[in-house]
Each structure stands twice: as C-alpha cells, then as structure tokens.
C-alpha cells in the first residue's frame, strides 16, 4: 500500500521518529527522554528493514537447499545483519544512559531537567 508516492513502510517510521522528537522537545523527565531515544532508534531500524523487504516477504533462510526461489519474494539479508548488531549496540547505549542517570540522581536527587540545571549553575558559581 502506498500513500501518494511513498510506501507505508517509509511513512510510519518517519512519523514515529518525529513524534518522539516532539516528545523530546516538550518533556522534562529524563527517564522519558531515554525511552524516546530508544523509540527513535527503533523507528530507524524499521526504516532500514523496509529498505530491503516488502510486507509478506519470506525470510532469507533456505530450509531446502535444492529448491529454486524467486529472489523478489525474499527479504534482503544485508540490512537484517546490520540491524541485528545495531539492536545490541542500542541496548548497550541505553545501559550507559541509565547509569549516567543514576549518577545524576545520586548527586541532585531529581530526574527533572529544569531543577537539575538550576542546581548545576549554583554549583558552578565561583565562591566569593
């Protein structure tokens, strides 16, 4: 199914990417910000997978080696292999983000951007 010139698999990931971008602008909770960054990553991964596959394609796994398949019904394996590593990297980045959030919470006792910024400017003020 296409909307105008654009395929469904392109328009929905782009929508989710910009929805989460909007959420990053309007929300002040850091936990929510980390979740929204994960959402952006997910939408990028779906966009990449949509690059080489269409809805209803069969996976690139050949149970019967002698059978001849039509290559246009098989999903592209290259984006899948790249995205498999990207998912693991994404969870590693999220783990580091959460650790940094814990460190910030230990110092400032809050998870809101605004009070944290105020406290940080108080800390950096030179003693007179």
């Amino acid at each position: 199914m296409t909307v105008g010139d654009i395929h469904v698999l392109e328009i929905f990931p782009i929508l989710v990417f910009f929805i989460s971008f909007f959420g990053l602008i309007i929300s002040r909770n850091i936990v929510k910000a980390i979740v929204l960054i994960m959402l952006m990553q997910t939408s990028v991964i779906l966009f990449w997978l949509g690059l080489g596959a269409r809805l209803g394609n069969i996976p690139p796994i050949f149970q019967d080696a002698t059978e001849v398949y039509d290559p246009n019904t098989i999903a592209d394996p290259l984006p899948q292999a790249l995205m498999l590593t990207a998912i693991i990297i994404g969870i590693a980045v999220t783990a580091i983000n959460i650790t940094l959030l814990n460190a910030l919470f230990r110092k400032y006792q809050t998870v809101d951007w605004q009070p944290m910024q105020d406290l940080a400017t108080v800390d950096e003020r030179p003693e007179s």
Binding site: L36, L39, I87, A103
Partner: protein
C-alpha cells in the same frame, strides 16, 4: 495479502502507542506503554521477513524493561523523585511553546518526506542477489543473515563485541560499588511467593535448553549467537528469581567475558583471514559448519556474560546509598 493487511493494522497501533508514550504523565505508564510498543515492533519485524531481528528485539525488550524498572524503583524509593514529578506535572503547560514545537517538528517531517528520495530506489540491488545465491558456497550454512555477520562482514561483529565490552566497562566504572554486598551473599529485598519459585524451577531448564538449541541451530534456521546469548542471560535472570541471592562472582564473569572476546578475535583470524574455510575440497562443508557453530557459541557466551554483568550490576550492587554516603560515593567515582 492478508499478512500485508495485518502488518498495516499493527503499524497503525504502533504509531498510536508512540503517541501514548509521548503524552503519558507518569513514568511507570511510560514503562508499560514501552513494553507494549516493543512487543508490537518485534511482530512487525517478523512479518517483514526478519525473524532474527524480531527475536533480538523480543529478548532486548525484556532487558530494557528490567533496567528501566529497576532505575525507576531506585528513585521512587527515596520519595524525592516522586515529589519532583508531581511538581512538574502540577505546573500549567505553556501552550504557545507546545504549538511552536509542534509546528517546528511538523515542518521538519514534511521537509523530510518531500525531499528525501524514496526507498524503492534502493531496494532490490545486485548485492542482495550476490549474497542470496553465493553464501552457501562461500560461508556455508542455510541462513543468509548468519552468513553475512559471520562471513562477509565479520568486522561488524568484531566491533559490536568490542562495543559491548566497552559498555560493560563503562557501566562498571560509572556505578557505585559495595564489595561487602557480594561477599555476604545477601538476599534481595523483593519478596517472592513459593509458587513463583516452583514455577520458575520448571521454566529455568527449558530456557537453558532452548538457548543451546538456538546456538547450535544458528546456521541452519533462525537464531544464532546473539539470541542464544540472550536466552542464556534470561536463564540467569530466572535463577535470580528463584534464589534471590547475590552470590554469583561478577568479577570472574567480567574476566571470562574479556577472555571470550579475545577468542572471538582469534578465531576469524585463523578461519577467515587465512582463507581456511574457502578451499573447495573434500571437508570444506564440515569445516564451515564447525567454524559457524564455534563462532556462534563464542558470540553467545560473550552476549550472555555481558548482559549477566549488566543485570547483576543493576539489580544487586547498585543500591542507592544513604545520605551520608552520597558524597563519599561521588568522591570515589571522580578519582
């Protein structure tokens, strides 16, 4: 056709879920919406013909949920985080800023949609045909995805493993550490009923067996090192659920992880970079299968140890210290 329609309905539900996440007011609601979002995402991946990526997403969603929920529990347990959230929710929203942000994002989205070329221009390339019809001879196995990330593009896997090691090291050096908690073998504060322990004892061996199956069949069917490693890590999570004791040796696990990483580097050097599995001789297919299974096993061990260290670091050791200890912990961290 029916599958395509199913996927389109799921995609609409997916976008609705993202909007729920953006407009949720409480943090635990964000967590639950995110869980539903991940569940739906992995099914969409499956319908796109990517079972490996879908399984990775399903396993990852459980770990992401655990990390987030432990983090939230930490700051809620002190009460001040809750107060801050209530204060920020009670403030009236600035509607002018909201509308301005929406207009800005809508403008960016429109620009992106109308000026970026569509993906149909990139799909169905010759490279795909090369991979699809040559991989059985070049690398072996029946799964093209495994053949790519262990054969054609093995550098990607090496750097991914390096990045996981880096992440584990960074988490360990940034988080607060108390040696006595591990040494005492202290029990967790979360209470469990007897029924939980009984049911988990039934499920644990099934998960371990399933992880072994995924690793061993990684080159023939969907699965592979990453997913087997995630299943092993889920087994360790279940073990924590049954016993609730922080007695596992984390430092040994870290050492083992680094050792496995060195092996992951050494094995491709001897197998691929010397051209060992490319000889078209008598025993080539056997060597190819041995290489693929060994590499999958090593990657699985690597991922399992990495997630095991991350999980225990979050659950067991990283406890929020009392008020007096706060400054002290920070002084240690900054040195």
């Amino acid at each position: 056709m029916a599958i395509a329609l199913t996927t389109e309905i799921l995609l609409v539900f997916w976008v609705v879920n993202a909007i729920w996440i953006v407009f949720a007011k409480k943090t635990y609601r964000v967590m639950i919406f995110f869980g539903v979002f991940s569940l739906i995402t992995s099914v969409i991946y499956l319908f796109l013909g990517a079972p490996d990526v879908a399984m990775a997403e399903a396993g990852i969603s459980a770990f992401a949920t655990i990390f987030f929920i432990v983090c939230i529990e930490k700051y809620y347990s002190r009460g001040s985080g809750l107060k801050a959230e209530m204060a920020s929710a009670a403030k009236p929203r600035n509607y002018f800023k909201l509308v301005a942000a929406f207009a800005f994002v809508a403008m960016l989205c429109g620009l992106f949609i109308f000026f970026v070329p569509t993906t149909t221009e990139y799909a169905y390339t010759e490279l795909r045909d090369l991979y699809l019809f040559q991989f059985m001879r070049d690398v072996g196995g029946r799964n093209a995805v495994t053949a790519i990330y262990l054969g054609y593009r093995v550098y990607d896997t090496l750097f991914e493993a390096l990045l996981l090691v880096t992440a584990v090291v960074a988490v360990i050096h940034l988080s607060w550490f108390d040696r006595t908690i591990v040494a005492d073998g202290r029990h967790s504060e979360v209470e469990r009923s007897r029924m939980t322990k009984f049911a988990m004892r039934i499920v644990c061996p099934i998960i371990l067996l399933f992880g072994m199956y995924l690793v061993m069949n990684g080159h023939i069917s969907a699965g592979g090192g990453f997913l087997g490693g995630l299943a092993f890590a889920l087994f360790l999570v279940c073990r924590f659920m049954v016993l609730g004791v922080y007695d596992l040796p984390i430092e040994k696990a870290m050492k083992l992880e680094e050792l496995v990483f060195i092996n992951i580097i050494i094995l491709p050097i001897f197998a691929i970079f010397t051209g060992f599995i490319y000889f078209y001789g008598y025993a080539t297919e056997m060597f190819q299968n041995i290489y693929l299974i060994a590499m999958n096993f090593l990657v699985g061990l690597k991922v399992a140890f990495g997630f095991f260290v991350l999980f225990y670091r979050y659950i067991a050791i990283e406890r929020l210290p009392d008020k007096e200890e706060v400054v002290e912990a920070f002084d240690d961290g900054e040195d």
